[in-house]
């Protein structure tokens, strides 16, 4: 009796095992896939999972306010209206508007050196300010913070920034025609501002 019951129990266990094997294999495969997905997500970093355009917009808004508070009001108006900043070079002859050369600062693009009175493009200086702590998965500062970092580094230590940068001929990363168009836009913008200023003086 005991022998037959034991045999029946073994047969039952074997049957149950055979029946549940496909389900168990599937469950195991699912668990392994989930584990691998979690590992891949962890390697990518949490921010890429949780990219938030609203957060990036708020960051850029903050960055613009800080930039505005640091640079001259006219430079801020230039950046606001045209999307780039002009900084006069200080290592050549002349200063300010009489400087022998100047730079255009674009967000996340090379700094471009040019001759103001002829519009001749001199060089592109590739420079970035990567934050390796990657708080939200990216090392890129907000656009206006990148412009501020370039402006601070250029006005504080022009020679040091140029030495840190990789110098290329114009056209390596930014289309020279686009820069020439921007220089024309800048000239027009300055003429309009000068005209408005003159009108204001006459009216006042």
């Amino acid at each position: 009796m005991a022998l037959s019951l034991g045999t029946a129990a073994i047969v039952l266990v074997a049957l149950l095992f055979e029946l549940s094997r496909p389900w168990a294999a599937g469950a195991l495969r699912s668990a392994l896939a989930a584990l691998h997905a979690r590992q891949r997500a962890w390697l990518r970093g949490p921010a890429q999972i949780a990219y938030d355009p609203g957060r990036e917009l708020r960051a850029e808004h903050r960055a613009r306010e800080l930039l505005r508070s640091c640079i001259d009001p006219e430079d801020w108006a230039m950046y606001r209206d045209l999307g780039f900043l002009r900084v006069w070079g200080t290592l050549g002859e002349g200063a300010g508007e009489g400087a022998a050369y100047a730079y255009l600062i674009y967000p996340h693009r090379p700094v471009v050196a040019f001759v103001p009175h002829s519009g001749l493009l001199l060089n592109e200086y590739c420079v970035a300010f990567p934050d390796d702590s990657r708080p939200y998965g990216s090392s890129r500062l907000p656009d206006s913070d990148d412009v501020l970092a370039k402006w601070m580094a250029l006005t504080a230590d022009e020679r040091g920034l140029i030495n840190d940068a990789n110098m290329h001929l114009p056209g390596r990363q930014i289309d020279p025609d686009l820069i020439r168009r921007d220089l024309q836009r800048l000239a027009g913008w300055e003429r309009r501002r000068a005209g408005r200023h003159a009108e204001g003086v006459r009216a006042g």
Binding site: S69, F129, A153, Q173
Partner: protein, 94 residues
């Protein structure tokens, strides 16, 4: 005086704030300043030049920060574009 740091995905964050004339607050400012410099960041003080135009000054120690500075801004060090240099300098495309 405020110590600010430019941060991806956030804009600037306030690291520390205090009065340099109050010893305890100055100590906290100095500690925060050193922490950021040790982390490899640059520090700049926005200021005005003699001709009145705004500019920035890079500072390498808290002693170099003007006592009347309102803000010190920390930001990542500059890295040039293209391939890594032979000396191992960190370079990335801009």
């Amino acid at each position: 005086m405020k110590l600010l740091r430019l941060k991806p995905g956030h804009g600037e964050i306030l690291l520390a704030e205090g009065d340099v004339e109050v010893p305890e607050q100055e100590r906290e400012l100095i500690e925060a300043f050193r922490r950021e410099l040790d982390a490899g960041l640059w520090a700049a003080v926005p200021s005005a030049s003699r001709d009145g135009r705004r500019e920035a000054e890079l500072v390498r120690s808290f002693d170099e920060v003007p006592r009347d500075a309102e803000r010190v801004i920390f930001f990542p060090r500059a890295a040039g574009g293209a391939a890594p240099a032979a000396g191992g300098a960190h370079r990335t495309l801009s």
